[in-house]
Symmetry: C2
Subunit: 330 residues, 2 copies
């Protein structure tokens, strides 16, 4: 019979200890975590970035990734979006009774591998067990260091800036949805840590004003929010937004708009207009950035508007995603 999580794994006693020793510590082992203290003490820095995210994606494993890779990427990417160098993660596991221990082991292994790829250390963790039907939720929080001369923020977009996306839209959303609907496709999730893109961009001399990862709600939601935070009008060109034919076909079939489909390894960069081509080259030559494209510009001042220039030269104004988006995508 397959080993499953039982309530005793969450009591704080010996069953919890065994779970931690046999699954988590084995994968995440490092000096700080192994000390098994109430909190981890690590070297700090002048300015720190902090973020948190909970991951509830269902199914927990999907083409191209899993909840473990996803949760590390999500937190690492949120730190990167402020120009921080991601350093330390904490993780909190909520395990529903009945969860497959084999699945948990695969997920934890995937977290460890992704943390290694992203150059971050998992320094603290916690595990709880709840009643339910075998699902797995993971919260990750992260700390990164921000150098004194770095100022990347949602409010920094300026008129004339170029808007660049780092790759194709909608792959993660389509991968999750096709798993759920049992549609046979080879679309893979894009879940990836964007360390290389951001490091190269910030080290290049390009004047980067804003970075944001494009997750729940999709590109249009992110750009509309950024337009409001910076009080600018953004225009984007429908034809320039990169979408693979597979995802476009999948979206067409289901009546979805790739502009509102979620990603987990893509960012939007708003950079000084005259640096646009240099920035694009840098992103294209970075890991996970090969399909980057300049898709629009910061066109003027306003209370925050997002305008898409359509194929025939028409315009449509875009809003954030309304409540109907795909739930539990991350």
């Amino acid at each position: 019979m397959e080993d499953k999580i039982i309530m005793a794994h969450g009591s704080g006693g010996s069953a919890t200890g065994e779970l931690i020793d046999n699954i988590f510590d084995r994968e995440f082992t490092n000096e700080t975590l192994d000390a098994m203290e109430d909190s981890a003490v690590v070297e700090g820095s002048g300015r720190i970035a902090m973020t948190t995210d909970s991951f509830v994606v269902t199914p927990a494993e999907f083409k191209g990734g899993d909840i473990g890779r996803l949760c590390v990427c999500g937190t690492v990417n949120d730190l990167l979006m402020r120009g921080a160098t991601p350093k330390y993660l904490t993780c909190g596991f909520i395990l529903e009774e009945g969860l497959s221990i084999a699945l948990l082991k695969r997920v934890v292994h995937s977290m460890a591998q992704t943390a290694k790829e992203a150059g971050v250390k998992i320094v603290a963790g916690d595990t709880k067990v709840v009643n339910g039907s075998g699902e797995l939720y993971i919260n990750t929080a992260g700390v990164g260091f921000v150098s004194d001369d770095t100022d990347i923020s949602a409010v920094n977009a300026e008129v004339g800036d170029a808007i660049i996306v780092s790759g194709n839209m909608g792959d993660h959303h389509a991968a999750i949805l096709s798993e759920r609907m049992c549609i046979d496709t080879d679309i893979c999730s894009d879940n990836a840590p964007l360390v290389d893109i951001v490091k190269n961009l910030l080290g290049s001399g390009v004047e980067v004003h804003t970075l944001r990862d494009i997750t729940r709600g999709g590109l249009a939601t992110v750009l509309k929010e950024l337009s409001e935070q910076s009080k600018k009008t953004f225009t984007i060109d429908e034809n320039r937004v990169p979408v693979t034919k597979k995802v476009a076909d999948f979206a067409g079939l289901l009546g979805l708009d790739p502009l509102y489909m979620g990603n987990e390894g893509k960012l939007v960069a708003i950079v000084k207009g005259s640096d646009a081509n240099k920035a694009l080259d840098i992103i294209k030559n970075s890991k996970y950035g090969e399909n980057a494209a300049i898709i629009g510009k910061v066109a003027g001042n306003s209370t925050g508007r997002l305008i898409e220039v359509t194929d025939l030269g028409g315009e449509r104004e875009l809003d954030v995603l309304q409540g109907e988006g795909l739930p539990r995508i991350c």
Copy 2:
């Protein structure tokens, strides 16, 4: 009809935005959080402490507290146990569909109040909605600053040290259990931030070697773990462990041992033997420390043993809690 959480609240679109604006931001508002960036950038320090904890307590409200107060206290206390000054919290909410919005508002308000009491700022948050039966899970992660001359650690206990607890054992456990069993009692949870006790203790010149909060698994589990981490034998005196008559009666009725009952506002301090009385006085004169007691000592070197000296002068060796502890107590 009562307002409930629906799946659309978790889509990342406008329904999510309304939830965040109307409930979370209203209570937690501060400059860093209000910036609504992917991560919060705050002033750092030379050494930082990091910790995380997920809270799944059921019921979410109980005599003397609620999951909101609990989650702030738990994380603040974990930071304090390394001698850190707690500074910043992140919080991740996992809301099950059907959760009462009125309950969520009360919990969020309680978090904001407790954060204020503990002197910490909530700087980043995340919300997800999942299927289920209206339950609420909260993950909190925290960052605190540790001064260069502070070295509080589980491995630091020395032979001759005194073992002090900051108050009565078992109140939280008894409060949760009586709610679940619909037993009418006025036992209140002890959930509290231990900022004052730790600040006063560390500022007093007392040589503090180890601090640990006594949560899941209870005092015996915590002491057994500390004995193993420091490779020492601890002895405690059964008669000196403070337990109220109400909790002792409650435990007796249900066949529970207060040494293994969970708390959420108590710590164990291991201090230099000659400083024991001074440390006790300081704790007794600090907020939430009035019932502190010296309960034992670090008696010798070993691979880690915990020995209780019983009423009649006998001895029993104690182990960590076995798997049968009360689940979902925090």
